[in-house]
Amino acid sequence: MSTVDPEDLLPLSEPVYHILMALSDRPRHGYAILQEVEERTGGVVRLRTGTLYTAVKRLLERGLIEETAEAPPHIERDDERRRYYLLTRLGRAVLAGEARRLELMVRLARAKRVLVGRS
């Protein structure tokens, strides 16, 4: 695989951003990603399976995430057939890059008084 500059992949689409975010702290399987995103955004962002898995496929192709069949040690009671996805170094770099980009945008909005106060 040729070296990819993370910058080249920005900006990320919204679903992808949230998927990567969900995988940033630990590997998860598909259903768990959906749950995490729904909980973390308070129900504002709702991913569906179609969107999720087509994005997952693309992320796998691009090397931003990896598949692993082993269940990580701290997960119990889950079906061993489940596929788990984890973030690669590239994926982490891309995610960080996107977050930085978004932060820049927010700072600009604050400077221009479009966004007032701190959240």
Partner: protein
């Protein structure tokens, strides 16, 4: 959360099935990879929702998931990238254009790597384009395009209706005067056509001259190409005689239009200074009009009647117009203006129109076949191309790029075909026109040239074909996925469906070809019957010469006849001449056409005469019947010194007037107010208008009489031997005897007959050529498809041969598949022909569309062509080495 289906509630089970179906939206490879995970997740979601709130929320949730999977799948297929647009550096944005250059080059290379395919595809499409364009140009000129004058829709001819109900185009100028300023027309222009004998060249020539009102050019909205038009003063009496020339005449006599300006047009009795030359293609009011001379309406009226063209004013409502015109007609005290009528200025013979549409249909069929063949060719390459495209997709080429490359190849093909096709069309068109009957070029006021719209249409069609079928492999290749295409098996499923499509196309081609072949065969039969018709006279040995004896030199009939007699005497003395006579024309197409008849014998009105009857009759000299081989059945022919009221009738007319008993010696008249005519003899019927008799079979002959000079005298010579050999001698004799008399036309009887049948000959030639071309294309297409099928089935055939099938049976198998296609096509074609039968009847002569001989011949031809096309592939199949083919599998 186990995946055990039995433990799921019914609603979730149902949803799961729905979801599984929705998964099909996702492209194959992705689906296979993800389906299991997706189904599991889906189950989990639905179960959870079910547990939380019951069936309804879970169904709702489930449906949302199904919708989402459908949308995601479609978006994948359309090539959307879930990752997002990503940032594109400048060089990436520029690259597509540079890519275009490389893509174009590689498209070109791809085509040159397959020169046979490319050449054949281009030629096939080009032939379709050429045929379609050429024919459409003719059709458009004749049928569709309006006259080349300003606002042609407002141009009308003013006709007057006479007491008997007939329409007459001629007006006396004083009759016309009240109409000029009555607010009925926005403009009026009148003219009269006269013949003049043109001198000052190597031979005298008769030309048609239009005596037109000076406003005519403005009226029509045209300008001269050189020099100036007329001004009102030019038309006054005593003005300097001036003339405008037709472009062709100017070029013939003076070289270029500009050279003609200031020179003189010399005719017998007058000399006109040429002040202008009209543009090429301007022929008003007829194709034959060669010059225009200005005359005021008053001057025109002093010496004869005029024909009237006018412009209908758009600002005035129809009823108002009608009222004003009716008032004018009523105010006219004469009974030769009972009513009035406006005819549109352009008028196309319906018969001509109909068969021009035949032409159009035939060419259309050819275009379809050509495109179908091209499609087949492209599809034939499809399997190969699919593989190629899949490999490149696997290596990382963007799908859009691959599709674009395919598109570029198709565009290149279409562009080449367009170029070649236009050239071919340019060659085809003059050839078409040369064969065309006079009707085509004389009824149009335009020259017929290649129509840009026709070319554009044909090219678009070719383009559509190339693109449509060229995209198929590209689209299929990028969907298939590298793994499968590289997997070695030849993609049996796609081959099968591709093969069926191609087979279907071929069957269609065979059907269309059959229709064309049938048409050609029927026209051939029709033509043969036409040639076989007994015309009632012997044209095989005749030489006929039309003399345009000028009134200026021979001002009365007597001097004309004296001249003619002198010539005829000398002809009789010439070697090789069996008989000589003269008359007003000879069949086919002679003399006058009389209508509005109310035949009466001494016993009263003749019953059973059609009121619409048109009677051809002519003036003839005493030896006329002898020279033409028309048998005298009763009484005698005409003699020298015959009284003016003598008449010789054709036998049908004699029969109609006196059904029981002889006609000789009896009297009749054409109308109650016409003079009595005495029958001196009855001759055999002739087909006066040629084999196709439009007017029924009555005709009559009268001697030349009166003082008024005649406009035409036809010399008739019967040769002892070959008339063609005699013709030059006849022409030389006439020229020597009367050097100042133009010979308008001299031809053998055979040539005259051929000319009479020119229209039918043209139809036959055209449809025949188109049918042959179509057959060629269809044969080629069949060859291509059968070869393809053989190459696909080499494995199977190899197995057959390995287990003992003989080469002959394998070959028979191949031929059998071809014959099956042909059979389907023949059935389809016969169905098409059956639907067209009523239309076919209108263009055929004494032959039924279902003529068994022609049908059998055409069906046999279709199968013969199929056999020929399948021969080579069958031989190739028979020569297969089973060992080799099995190893390759």
């Amino acid at each position: 959360m186990s995946g055990d289906p039995e433990k799921l509630p019914a609603s979730v089970r149902l949803l799961r099935r729905l979801y599984a179906a929705g998964l099909l939206a996702i492209p194959g490879p992705a689906r296979r990879q993800l389906a299991a995970s997706m189904l599991e997740t889906f189950e989990a979601i639905c179960l959870r929702a079910h547990r939380r709130g019951g069936a309804l929320p879970s169904v709702w949730r489930g449906l949302q998931e199904v919708l989402d999977v459908l949308v995601a799948g479609v978006r994948q297929r359309l090539g959307a990238d879930p990752l997002g647009p990503g940032r594109r550096p400048l060089r990436e944005r520029i690259r597509p254009l540079a890519d275009l250059g490389t893509d174009l080059r590689s498209a070109l290379r791809a085509l040159t790597r397959r020169p046979a395919f490319a050449t054949v595809a281009v030629l096939t499409l080009a032939s379709g384009i050429a045929a379609g364009t050429a024919v459409f140009s003719v059709v458009d000129s004749v049928v569709l395009r309006p006259l080349p004058y300003a606002q042609p829709a407002t141009l009308v001819r003013l006709m007057r209706v006479v007491e008997s109900g007939g329409f007459v185009s001629s007006w006396r100028s004083e009759q016309l005067e009240p109409w000029l300023d009555a607010g009925v027309f926005s403009a009026v222009s009148a003219y009269r056509l006269e013949n003049r004998t043109l001198i000052g060249g190597p031979e005298p020539e008769r030309i048609q001259v239009g005596l037109v009102m000076p406003n005519t050019l403005d009226f029509l909205g045209v300008r001269p190409a050189a020099g100036r038009g007329f001004v009102p003063e030019d038309g006054e009496e005593g003005a300097v005689p001036v003339a405008l020339l037709e472009s062709g005449l100017a070029r013939r006599r003076f070289g270029t239009p500009d050279a003609a300006i200031g020179r003189f047009l010399e005719v017998l009795g007058a000399r006109y200074r040429i002040i202008g030359v009209m543009p090429g293609g301007f022929h008003y009011p007829y194709q034959a009009t060669r010059a225009w001379v200005p005359r005021s309406l008053a001057t025109l009226g002093k010496t004869g009647t005029v024909n009237v063209h006018a412009r209908r004013p758009s600002a005035i409502a129809e009823p108002v117009l009608q009222e004003r015109g009716d008032a004018l007609a009523a105010a006219d005290a004469n009974d030769d203006l009972v009513a009035w009528k406006l005819w549109p200025a352009g008028h196309v013979d319906t018969r001509l129109r109909r068969w021009v549409l035949v032409l159009f249909g035939a060419a259309g069929i050819l275009v379809l076949i050509a495109c179908a063949n091209a499609a087949n060719l492209i599809l034939a390459q499809a399997a190969q191309r699919e593989r190629e495209v899949s490999v490149r997709a696997a290596l990382g080429a963007a799908r859009l790029r691959l599709v674009r490359q395919s598109l570029l190849e198709s565009l290149l093909l279409a562009a080449a075909a367009g170029g070649v096709g236009s050239l071919l069309a340019g060659v085809l068109l003059p050839w078409l026109l040369r064969l065309a009957p006079r009707g085509i070029t004389s009824l149009t006021a335009n020259a017929v040239d290649l129509d840009a719209r026709a070319l554009g249409f044909a090219i678009s069609l070719a383009l559509a074909t190339a693109v449509l079928f060229g995209l198929v492999p590209a689209l299929r290749g990028t969907c298939l996925g590298a793994a499968r295409a590289l997997g070695g098996s030849r993609g049996a499923a796609t081959a099968a469906s591709g093969g069926r499509l191609r087979g279907g196309i071929i069957a269609g081609e065979v059907a269309l070809t059959l229709v064309l072949l049938l048409g050609a065969g029927l026209l051939l039969g029709s033509f043969a019957r036409l040639l076989a018709v007994d015309l009632g006279l012997e044209l095989e040995r005749v030489v006929a010469a039309d003399l345009a004896v000028p009134e200026e030199l021979y001002p009365d009939l007597e001097s004309q006849l004296q001249l003619t007699e002198r010539i005829v005497e000398r002809l009789r003395a010439m070697d090789g001449v069996a008989a000589a006579a003269y008359g007003l024309g000879i069949p086919p197409g002679f003399g006058y056409l009389e209508f509005g008849l109310q035949l009466e014998t001494e016993a009263g009105a003749v019953a059973g005469i059609d009121a619409e009857l048109i009677l051809p009759w002519s003036h003839v000299s005493p030896e006329y019947f002898d020279a033409l081989g028309i048998p005298v059945l009763e009484g005698r022919g005409l003699e020298a010194g015959e009284p003016d009221d003598s008449v010789v009738l054709g036998s049908t007319m004699a029969e109609a007037l006196w059904p029981n008993g002889p006609a000789a010696g009896r009297r009749f008249r054409l109308r109650p107010d016409a003079p009595w005519l005495t029958v001196v003899g009855v001759v055999g019927d002739v087909r006066s208008e040629g084999p196709v008799e439009p007017f029924g079979s009555m005709e009559m002959y009268r001697p030349f009489s009166g003082d008024r000079p005649t406009f035409l005298l036809t010399l008739v010579v019967r040769a002892e031997g070959d008339p063609a050999a005699l013709l030059p001698a006849v022409r030389d004799l006439v020229r020597a005897a009367a050097p100042d008399v133009p010979i308008e036309r001299i031809a053998t009887g055979g040539q005259l007959l051929a000319d009479n049948l020119r229209e039918q000959r043209f139809q036959l030639a055209l449809v025949g050529v188109l049918a042959l071309l179509a057959a060629l294309l269809a044969a080629f297409g069949m060859f291509g498809v059968i070869s393809y099928v053989v190459s696909r089935r080499t494995g199977e055939l190899g197995v057959r041969m390995a287990v003992g099938a003989s080469p002959r049976s394998v070959a028979a198998l191949v031929i059998g598949s071809g014959l099956r296609l042909a059979a389907a096509g023949v059935v389809l074609g016969l169905g098409l022909a059956w639907m067209l039968r009523r239309f076919m009847r209108t263009i055929l002569f004494e032959i039924e569309p279902g003529n068994p001989l022609v049908l059998t011949a055409v069906i046999a031809a279709a199968f013969a062509i199929t056999l020929a096309a399948c021969l080579l592939p069958a031989l190739r199949a028979a020569r297969l080495d089973p060992a080799r083919t099995l190893r390759l599998e």
